[in-house]
């Protein structure tokens, strides 16, 4: 374990603690008594007393936070008002859909964004570049739900190639069959994000191409394709790979809208329904989990950077 690893991990934990305080405060910021906020208005006096006791609501706020955080660390995120089951279970039920959706989307983003970005950079200034960059800008301006609705209209309702909504669990329908349910949602979700990765890839390729060491590489007499692949691309991807981390974490939250459009039983749709049902513990739990996910992914990206960029270790 190098000092770098320790320092990065420490910073991530500090951020998580600060974020958890904000998330803890969430329940208390909602107007009304936190107990009724969490139990709903139909709570019985026994339930109220039990929760008061469990959360230590008569203790000072600091103690309440410690109790809450301790419970969270042990995997207890409270109980859903609507389902009356543990929040962790509610989230776990949506996890398969959400993670698969984000993963498939990520595949699109990488398959489309990176190669097309490279192409635009190689053809910088030509009509191809201008066309692709323009399209990327347009794609970055698309509301995902709107794209989703038209994808349903064309490919589901019209051509019938893909199902228009829902998603059966792998355990029910098994195999790759149920990935068909994710094709349209992942495409809708990928469009603006692939565009951002495309622009980032192009920009960092062009940045690197201006570096002195690229001139050195060309001066050696190696072939231009090799200069692009071994020297420009390798360095340009450093910036792009770190964006993959952000993007993946962001997809989980952006999927809120997409999952609603395609009626996918994921975490995102759970959040929206929980907001409408005033099921606050679930919202709180989802936010906490996504923040953790974001921090963990970024930590992994940061640490794996050491293997990609030899300079990092020195700093």
């Amino acid at each position: 374990m190098s000092r770098y690893v320790i320092r990065r991990t420490g910073a991530a934990i500090m951020t998580l603690i600060a974020a958890s305080i904000v998330i803890f405060a969430f329940i208390h910021l909602i107007p009304g008594d936190p107990v009724y906020v969490m139990l709903g208005d139909g709570a019985t006096p026994e339930q109220v007393a039990a929760l008061r006791d469990r959360l230590g609501l008569d203790e000072p706020l600091v103690m309440q936070y410690l109790i809450w955080a301790g419970n969270a660390l042990r995997g207890d995120l409270g109980v859903s008002i609507f389902f009356e089951t543990p929040v962790t279970q509610v989230i776990a039920e949506g996890a398969e859909t959400s993670i698969l959706l984000a993963s498939v989307t990520m595949v699109w983003i990488i398959l489309i964004g990176v190669p097309v970005g490279i192409l635009a950079a190689i053809r910088q200034g030509t009509l191809i570049d201008q066309g692709l960059s323009g399209l990327a800008m347009l794609a970055a301006s698309l509301p995902t739900f709107w794209v989703g609705l038209y994808l349903i209209l064309i490919f589901a309702a019209g051509l019938g190639w893909f199902p228009s909504s829902g998603y059966p669990s792998i355990f029910e329908e098994g195999g790759l069959v149920n990935l068909r349910y994710l094709v349209l949602p992942s495409l809708a979700l990928a469009a603006p994000n692939a565009a951002l990765i495309l622009r980032l890839t192009r920009a960092s390729m062009l940045d690197v191409a201006r570096e002195d060491y690229i001139r050195t590489a060309r001066a050696k007499g190696i072939r231009p394709t090799r200069v692009v692949l071994r020297h420009i691309l390798r360095n340009a991807l450093l910036a792009v790979v770190s964006a993959f981390g952000f993007t993946f974490a962001a997809l989980i939250s952006e999927a809120v809208v997409t999952e609603t459009v395609f009626a996918l039983p994921g975490i995102g749709r759970t959040v929206v329904q929980s907001i409408l049902r005033r099921d606050y513990p679930v919202i709180q739990g989802v936010i906490l989990i996504t923040v953790c996910l974001y921090l963990v992914i970024n930590l992994i990206v940061d640490l794996s950077y050491r293997y990609l960029d030899p300079r990092v270790e020195l700093e």
Binding site: F26, W146, L149, Y150, E254, V257
Partner: protein
């Protein structure tokens, strides 16, 4: 500032598509300013006989499920689009700029403030906005706050970076050692040099505010349903997608083109900006 604005026409000529973007934004502003005169019908008058009419005839863009004129609603929708855009930009810059500048000027304070910004950034943006809506309740003003909070963080980071660089510029150091006060340095040296990065950031924030607001509307958590915003129009006509797909076409196109135009303008501005700061305002 003048310099930045003056280069808009030249870059617009260089890239005809940017000129079209500017033109579209002008149309949106005119729609918003003169909606009652441009719209052929009031936006909320129902006409049950003429429900779900296709485009053409008396109704340029057809009618919705209550028989309301889609074109009129699209024209009035420009008002909310501008309100949201201006509101979010004002909030993001109004909070992000002081946070960024103060952090750059006072390193001790900066460590705390930028740490807080980092914490906010660890929240996925849409969830952050939704969380705030849960606390504040639904409404146009709250939607502005919720979306503005997302861009507070990015703005503060950019401003912080730019201000740090400016602070290290020789002429600022010289002014400092000549005894210039903090206020003087901020108003004379830092803010004026920050205008072009801020202008670029403002156009991107304006663009993404449109998409964010549309998402909130679509989820039923944005502007109240009686307001004819483009996002609300999409949310309401969603179930008619197969029967009357044009209902979703117009408001959707308005959102896309508004965001696209703003992105084009932002990009053109950035291309002409001081290359040192160009890196910082990306996306």
């Amino acid at each position: 500032m003048r310099q930045v604005l003056m280069m808009l026409p030249t870059s617009a000529i260089r890239r005809p598509i940017t000129a079209l973007g500017v033109l579209f934004l002008v149309v949106i502003v005119i729609f918003a300013a003169a909606s009652p005169w441009i719209a052929p019908y009031p936006p909320d008058v129902m006409d049950p006989v003429n429900r779900l009419l296709p485009p053409g005839g008396d109704h340029l863009m057809g009618t919705d499920h209550f028989g309301r004129d889609t074109f009129s609603r699209v024209v009035f929708g420009a008002r909310l689009a501008l309100l949201i855009g201006v509101g979010v930009v004002a909030f993001a810059l109004g909070t992000g700029v002081p946070i960024g500048v103060l952090s750059a000027l006072f390193p001790a304070l900066g460590r705390v403030l930028m740490r807080m910004v980092d914490v906010l950034m660890s929240f996925p943006s849409l969830l952050l906005a939704l969380g705030l809506i849960v606390i504040l309740g639904q409404g146009v003003f709250n939607a502005i706050l919720a979306i503005g909070l997302i861009y507070l963080t990015t703005t503060a980071r950019i401003v912080y970076g730019v201000a740090l660089r400016l602070k290290a510029e020789p002429y600022v150091e010289a002014a400092r050692s000549a005894g210039a006060g903090t206020w003087w340095i901020v108003t004379r040296h830092i803010l004026p040099n920050m205008i072009s990065p801020l202008l670029v950031q403002a156009s991107f924030v304006f663009a993404f505010a449109q998409l964010g607001a549309a998402s909130l509307d679509f989820l039923g958590l944005g502007a109240p349903p009686e307001i004819p915003s483009w996002g609300n129009m999409l949310a309401e006509s969603r179930i008619y997608i197969t029967r009357a797909s044009w209902l979703l076409l117009w408001p959707g196109l308005m959102i896309v083109l508004t965001a696209f135009s703003l992105n084009l303008v932002g990009d053109a501005l950035r291309d002409r900006m001081d290359p040192r700061f160009r890196e910082m305002v990306r996306r």
